[in-house]
Amino acid sequence: MDEVTLLAQAIPDVPQPSAETVARARARLAALDDPVRRPRPLRRWAWTAGAGVATIAVVTAVIMLVSHLGGVPEPQPAAPPAFQQAPRVHQGLHRLAGARMPQSATKTTLRFRPTSERIAIVLFCQKPGSIFFSNEGGSSAGGTCGPDGAPSMLADKAHEPGWLGRDHEITFWVFPPDAPVVRGRKACPPQGSCDGAYELSGPETADRLAAELGSRPGAWSVAAYDVQAARPLHDIADRVEKLPARTGAYWRRTLTNGSLIRVGAPGAVYRLKEEARFDWWQPRDPTGPLMTESRRLFTRPATAADEKAWRAAGSPAEVEQACMGGTPGEDCARLKLSSEPSACEYTRGVDAKGLLPDRRFAGLTVAEVERLPADPARLRDRLRTLYDRRTRRSFEDALPMAASLLNLPLKPGTRAALLHLLADLPTTRVRGQATDPLGRPGIRVSFWDGKGMSYPGGEEAPTEFQQILDPETGRILAEVTVLLEAREGLPKGTVLHYTAHTPGDGWTDERPEEPADCAKKRR
């Protein structure tokens, strides 16, 4: 999570403007009887951005078309031609969204959210040399298309900041090859027709041309293609669905948290590793006692090299964290080194609300979790009613955070449905095989845009927040913050912080016992 996202969440939200406010504003606007200047259409035969940024060079990367000249015959039954149905896979990319039109001089709108910079928008037009035009907001593009698919200039847009990671809605028009269209950058009068020809420069002109032509012969299709990210998640879901349901008197959550902490003086910086354990006993019967327990396991030099640096500094028993410049002094903690478990605290008592831990998506009780549907679409509808609106996000923006529900005691069917749902989110990124901080094999996934900055070397470094899933049970083995670039001797991929679920997690008939060596804290 980066500073700007945090800021957006931290600034208090406001209610929608009242109907009265809207009506008053509308009335003020209506009272203004000012002739509005005629919208002047854009004059570019390529994707264009707003006037303020027209100077930015757009790098053109033409997608190479692969033609199937000879080679091995396709074993499948003959697929319909691409202009009738955009193929599911094109040049190794998978179809995100597609539309087909049986006739030319027509338009259709494609809605999709790109998942990678490899995104390609491809038009397949039955008649070679057909003319296409596309528009999204103030950006337009045009060109010609044929049965093999037109090169997509949209691929370049993926390199513009902010183009990825949001929904797009692009309207496409296709006209016959002989349609009266002006090509090139010839300026036309604003009415949109020059010598009877049309300059395709905005949706209005394209609509007028379509209206004039009526529908013409010539089928076409258009599709957005991107890398298919999430097959492994669907596979996990299919396995999980067959697992037996479990239950017990208590649901137990045992976490091990680990952090790398930068300490020492400038020029003699080294790192400590701190590990803490956090136990949570949630009673199935909400009138039973809830118990939580936390203890620090150790705080010690992270590696042999760090230990050497610590000895060189005189083996201090207490060290000061190396903080960012500007951090208030009281926040720059002093740490006591210890190789023994210490600082143990526990709480015990009946919790009236009975909410399970991990409330990043919503605070839920055991009963609520057990009632969650086992079908992806119905689960999605239910989640819409449950998500924590205090985060002030739209449901669509909050949905990736539903991955945190994988930490809760879901029934196998619900867990499978949730995995299918998450797999289909455009924000989900499967990063491949991984080993979690406790040495267990898993699959590394980034469910939400967890890119952030950390400062392991006093200077910022890009990091990513990831989940490592157990491929058999679909549970989260660990959540990790990893370095995306090497910094101050730490290699790329170093885990800066982790939360690992220790074996022993889950339903049990054991009951929590008050620990003898631990200080009781009031809840």
Binding site: M1, D2, E3, V4, T5, L6, L7, A8, A10, I11, P12, D13, V14, P15, Q16, P17, T21, V22, R24, A25, R28, L29, L32, D34, P35, V36, R37, R38, P39, R40, P41, L42, A49, G50, G52, V53, T55, I56, G137, G138, E160, P161, G162, F278, T292, Q321, C323, M324, G326, T327, P328, A333, R359, R360, M453, E460, F465, E479, H497, T499
Partner: protein
């Protein structure tokens, strides 16, 4: 359809599509009362200035006008961020069922608001257009009519200040306290 009807329809469409978000943007920077008045003003300015689609997308342009109007109330805005920085943290700690998450969130709000008050106007405009308006770098450049490179450098500067203010409050840690 006559030309003026056509344009009027266009304007109505722009108003319907964007009034609520422009109102929200201003209300979050100043106050709901101020937004009730200024959001309407944004659309009046847009019409008087001549809404011209060759300028690019309408939305960044409206945000640009809103930002210029907010600038006239600069002192009100800074007072607001300072007040928020004082109260957010205290409220969070005083709250009866103060959970760790809530306290952390209150601290974050307080510190971020304090940092906002300390930013210079240009940097604050850029970071709030991104954070509250969800504008891309390109759109911010169009909205404020400044070069793209300037957007990036202002945003970097603002981020750095915010990060400083956050210090060691690690927002990711809240995930681990249950």
């Amino acid at each position: 359809m006559s030309v003026s009807t056509h344009l009027r329809t266009d304007l109505d469409r722009v108003f319907d599509a964007h009034f609520a978000e422009i109102h929200r943007y201003i209300a979050r920077r100043l106050s709901v009362d101020a937004a009730d008045d200024l959001a309407a003003e944004v659309f009046l300015v847009a019409v008087r200035g001549g809404y011209d689609s060759s300028r690019g997308e309408v939305r960044p342009w409206l945000y640009g006008i809103a930002t210029n109007l907010v600038a006239r109330h600069r002192r009100t805005e800074i007072r607001r961020w300072k007040a928020l920085s004082r109260t957010a943290e205290r409220e969070a700690e005083d709250h009866e069922d103060a959970t760790l998450t809530r306290v952390a969130a209150g601290k974050l709000t307080g510190r971020l608001a304090g940092a906002l008050a300390g930013l210079n106007r240009g940097d604050r405009d850029v970071v709030l257009l991104v954070a509250l308006g969800g504008l891309t770098h390109l759109e911010v450049a169009a909205a404020l009519e400044i070069p793209y490179g300037t957007v990036a450098s202002r945003l970097n500067r603002a981020r750095k200040q915010l990060r400083k203010a956050l210090g060691d409050v690690n927002p990711l840690k809240e995930a681990h306290d249950g």
